[in-house]
Symmetry: C4
Subunit: 201 residues, 4 copies
């Protein structure tokens, strides 16, 4: 089984999930005549939705780059890998709902639990994806180093820590939890250079 | 006619149908102030929709893997194969509607008939796809074994049996029918290894 | 400029337009308790929407196959061809709206005019696409025969005749016009074999 | 990191954003019996939405062609380029919302500011994309000429001028600003030939 059609399906699901996020931002319906100040207030009220759009888009970008990097090393696919991908993509495609829920109920820890839980499940399947492919170098190059395999695992696992922390933090302060979700992708952007150095010597 | 653009269109339709499933799960609209318990109840009421999302996503995954496997053996395409693909994809793209209908009316045998009927029609076109391509080795390798062709046919036909059984079962018990639809993809996941062994020796 | 990214964008737009058609079929909202007979009536009332879905899906299939066949012969792209493609795809992406309008107002000639006009415009850009690419063998193989170029033009032009006839027919009988739109793709399916023989000797 | 999966994700996001634009044009809901004249008035009232669809589709086409042209020269990708692409695509996927807002509030300078601001941000990321890839010939061919790099930069920067002018113009006359947004893609279509001559000698 070739990996390129898995990648095509994944690229499609990511592209659609990213683009569907915008459907959860609704154009305000104001009764005419519309005053500029009323429209400004209505648009300001959408700020959490726009912030949710931006954060989820960037988190999807992070997950897409992670998935993309796996296929830099994965040479073959089997039925198990195919199914791990299907489960992973089911989490990705669910994220627009979780984002809309969080934007609507951003003072409710339960909304954070759904959002964080979706990301945690996605991360778990991404971890399983890498672990399955690399155990005994099952579907990757035989000369892929142990250090590279472990570095990629640590990278995914560090995401778990952030998702769980943010979800628990929402019980104390939903504002702090929102901030953590917003900051997280930045962390992935910066030390990526170090990781890449480790994984592709 | 090359097969790669058929595969690209199919990957696109599958990716979109999978992702559109989530649009049928609506964020609950609760009047403020929102109590955590009220949100929990509203989310619990969405459980059948989430279950429908998960089951349909996995069934789409099964059908995508099946379609994907065909193109592992199909070498050329002609206009008839192109049209069988268009009809097949029309069934796939209809599944988000059938899923939303079943999630809304899960105690109505008619909703099961629409859902099961959509899957049955998709299965019929998938069967026609394989039968047309392999009859007289029309569009496949001449050395593809009779056993491999028959095994793939049996695999698709076994799906028919499940769809028809689940639809009829819904007349007696809609809960049992739901359970059968949910369990079916698991069956496809497990004996897949046996089938693959038969079809790619 | 390579043609493969134009094809990728086109495959994406076709796949999405095909799949969005289903969003115009809304799950009926019945007040509980729901009787089986009431659901059956509500689903029967959706029959024109389902028929519109099927017809538009198949028409999109026809147009996709036509566009696909062009790129079998087109070797290069330039900025003009790129723009003809963008205009063509704008018509394709508009078809879900035209389909929903026709399903809602199937007794109104104006709805037929919008639907037929969208197809006519799409056909005009498809004709321009082929004429631009083949004039002086600008972007195709120099040895593509005049007969093949003319046959493909006739094929697109015959579509014009059907769209205009169906739109005008709707002024006399909307039922007959609907029938003509439904039958048209069948015509494209059957004589396709003859045309292909002409265009690829 | 290969550039082909970035292009696949971008083609997907562009195709979906283009196609989602049509979801903002809603089929009018008229109470039966429907008179032809009432439907005609209702469709005429949709004219700004259809115009917005056409203009945004063509602007997306312009941006897609620009992005497409970059990858004609970019040979490699690194994490920074990946992230610039993610930010760029976040702007692209936001455009259906900005278009719907402008179609609903086309007499409000604020709606123009959102629309123009989205395009300006998209243009800024496109500029950053090209500047990052070409500085020190980081990710492009070493023999790409300075003139070609500068010409592509000027082309993107000229878009900035139009977006800013149209947004400011909306403070004086929203009709003139609409006209400028509608005319702008035409400008990109025509002198493109000159630019291409400069960038690909």
């Amino acid at each position: 089984v070739e990996t390129n059609r898995i990648e095509a399906l994944a690229d499609g699901v990511f592209a659609i999930a990213m683009t569907l996020l915008v459907l959860e931002i609704h154009v305000p319906r104001l009764p005419p005549p519309v005053a500029g100040a009323a429209l400004a207030r209505a648009l300001l009220a959408l700020a959490p939705n726009v912030a949710g759009y931006a954060v989820s888009f960037i988190i999807l970008g992070t997950l897409w780059i992670g998935h993309h990097n796996h296929f830099h090393f994965i040479r073959r696919a089997d039925r198990t890998l195919l199914w791990i991908n299907v489960f992973y993509l089911a989490c990705i495609a669910f994220l627009p709902f979780a984002t809309a829920l969080l934007a609507s109920y951003r003072d409710q820890p339960l909304a954070f639990a759904v959002y964080g839980g979706t990301l945690l499940l996605a991360g778990a399947f991404l971890y399983a994806h890498w672990a399955y492919a690399t155990t005994g170098r099952r579907l990757v190059d035989p000369d892929l180093s142990d250090a590279a395999i472990a570095a990629a695992k640590r990278r995914i696992a560090s995401g778990f820590a952030v998702y769980v922390t943010a979800t628990l933090l929402s019980l104390l302060s939903t504002a702090a939890a929102l901030g953590l979700f917003a900051v997280m992708p930045l962390v992935y952007m910066l030390p990526g250079r170090v990781d890449r150095h480790l994984t592709r010597p």
